[in-house]
Symmetry: C2
Subunit: 478 residues, 2 copies
Amino acid sequence: MAKDKKFVEEITAMEDDFAQWYTDVVKKADLVDYSSVRGSMIIRPYGFAIWENVRDVLDGKIKETGHENIYMPLLIPESLLQKEKDHIEGFAPEVAWVTHGGSEELAERLVIRPTSEVLFGEHYANIIHSYRDLPKLYNQWANVVRWEKTTRPFLRSLEFLWQEGHTCHATSEDAQEETSRMLEMYAEVCEKYLAIPVLRGRKTDKEKFAGAVHTLTIESLMHDGKALQSGTSHYLGTGFAEAFGIQFTDKNGELQTVHQTSWGITTRLIGALIMVHGDNRGLVVPPKIAPKQLMIVPIAQHKEGVLDKAYELRDQLKKVARVDIDASDKMPGWKFNEYEMKGIPLRLEVGPKDIEKGQVVLARRDTGEKIFVAMEDLEAKVVELLEDIQNNLFEKAKAHREEKTNIALNMDEFKKALVENPGFIKAMWCGDVACENFIKDETSATSRCIPFEEEKISDTCVCCGGEAKHLVYWAKAY
Amino acid sequence: MAKDKKFVEEITAMEDDFAQWYTDVVKKADLVDYSSVRGSMIIRPYGFAIWENVRDVLDGKIKETGHENIYMPLLIPESLLQKEKDHIEGFAPEVAWVTHGGSEELAERLVIRPTSEVLFGEHYANIIHSYRDLPKLYNQWANVVRWEKTTRPFLRSLEFLWQEGHTCHATSEDAQEETSRMLEMYAEVCEKYLAIPVLRGRKTDKEKFAGAVHTLTIESLMHDGKALQSGTSHYLGTGFAEAFGIQFTDKNGELQTVHQTSWGITTRLIGALIMVHGDNRGLVVPPKIAPKQLMIVPIAQHKEGVLDKAYELRDQLKKVARVDIDASDKMPGWKFNEYEMKGIPLRLEVGPKDIEKGQVVLARRDTGEKIFVAMEDLEAKVVELLEDIQNNLFEKAKAHREEKTNIALNMDEFKKALVENPGFIKAMWCGDVACENFIKDETSATSRCIPFEEEKISDTCVCCGGEAKHLVYWAKAY
């Protein structure tokens, strides 16, 4: 029996130190490893397989809705980045600069893309001429670099993976419709696949993307009551189009400027997954995006017939689920811990007694429940349980968010809620950035979004007492 | 009717100027566009869809053979790159240097990965401890940057996309077996999917990878008689493992050093595809990797029933092929040219007369042949033709390569062959790098590979007349 790993790998309890719990989980569930590259992470096979599943689901939806994938250069000349002034102001402090190629100093510095609006802008100016060329619906899967000082795996790192959609439309209405459509696509991927409930709304001007007219966002709530921006979709108006000269001849022969959008989700979603579903035994992966949905652990596998049966079950269950088997000589207890740490939704145990009785044991990762299932019902039961786990994770996360959503009518209530029941705070806002700044300075909470479905819970701003314009969800955030 | 594009888009004839023909095809078939980023290319949707198909085929095979995908950081600290001395010597002259993050100068410069051996080396040293951890079979899909002076789309660019496999094994035999297995996988992808016949062999020491014990290669021959290295697989021995301390305890409790491999193919393969199958009407894409295998062009589509029939055929053929329809108001002649330029394997024409007769016309891109097919035979015929086109492209390319493969017993024959029948030259070699250098200086041809299946066509070196050690394939190369 192998002794090269401890029987139980302990992780910090999330109640004791949530940040350390997170770090323990990403490391012990084999999601990431560190390297000598400051602030960057190695995404290990298990973490990358989760990302591949998220990517494949979203890529399918992006293509179904008529978007095409494209690949833009990694390096952007400084002069190109400077073409849209809000954009360069927003990004200049956090880019990596390439100054030398081989042994030569470059005549013009290059930045590693922090995002690719300017490259798409230049390309669109080249290829769009007529209303017949519109809409142009492009998407790119890529790595980007932002020079962050403090980094954490998946949540904030020097380099991350993402997709960035960039589209051009004939009218503002078309572009805004696209902006909303893509946000709803993100919300669907989060809710239906990652089992993460999200708020849908609009960012305040202070929090919007550098260069956007407005930014739509989906916001999710972590176990510790902090919010995480989980996807954004920007209506860019004509700002970039004017800077880059993206114009087209309309049906009447008149020259018009295109309206643009951009939208993205990143490997951050894996951070959200960990902090929404994880527990003190480790990661919990929703079945729809789990690289392995069911792990077979043979019991007393040296006894005759056990391994044969286990492999037979694997081959049988392959038809209905992503199944694997661990037939190594490690103890079952070690295996139980290992696959609980990795968050595999179902474990199947089969031993000599089970075989005698014509049954197996299924253990749910989400509830810990153990269920005896007759062999002949197995396939149907696995399908049913995977669906049930998927739904249960979503409902649990939603209940948690609702429980952690507070209402505040004044700053005292606001501060009290943040201490007593940290999570979202619904509060009215006058629309003045001064109040946003004040709230941030006083409480560290930021405006997360103005929800699409606005309510009026009071007539006055939670901060200044002036006339309320919007309901805002506030929270401390990652 | 649209007049915003010329009826016929002319491209340079390949006999007149092969380099210009290539540039015309990549541009007019909408594979790439240029940007203000020197030496980089925008891979446009059509080009990227071809790459996605190649990637998906290879990714499936990589996973089937037990490899796992992983993602490593883009940026490598200078000190890490320097750990293996042959490696840094080989790559230092062609890397991009990041010297600043935001407004601060970095204490240590970073390179944008030209390849990731050192990152894998460091990671493997972290995670490999016991013989139980071996083999480790990792792969990464990524972008890399090499500071090339002269660049051409797909063939040689500052940035390109690739996969890089990196594996660790307990023994030299295991590692060498992996090196061969992966080369054969590349050969299969080239021959069965890209329809490109390849020579399989070993690089001479002069041409091997910086840091490898030996490099295996597949080499293909372009229309113009130049060779293109189409994939390489390196046996790294223990060089990197020693530099990074990748050691494991074997079954007897003794400390051993792992044996490593690395292997890669790149977006260069799209360049090969263009130059192996293309003709003076543009690109020709083999059916198995064609984003669209059949394009429906309705004839006299304003006449009643034509468009309905065309859409009906599209829906019917979707079951057996990747089908699209162009129902725009452009002239059929424009459409014919457009989809020939894009190299779509089959075109289906259907007009009022065809409908009356219960038939359609299928036009093959590879031979230009037009075939009348009864509606009821259509599905079967499409499947048959796509297979036939795939095979025909391979056979044509193979015949071309054979025709362009010369034998030379001395330098006069060598030089004569390069002028009269440019292509591969089979010639014996003494094993001395001086002869390789002499041949390169005299003729611009380089040693492409020592084929796995060696023949002895003479006893003496083609260059110095000394004792022959190996048969070598030589050629001018991209």
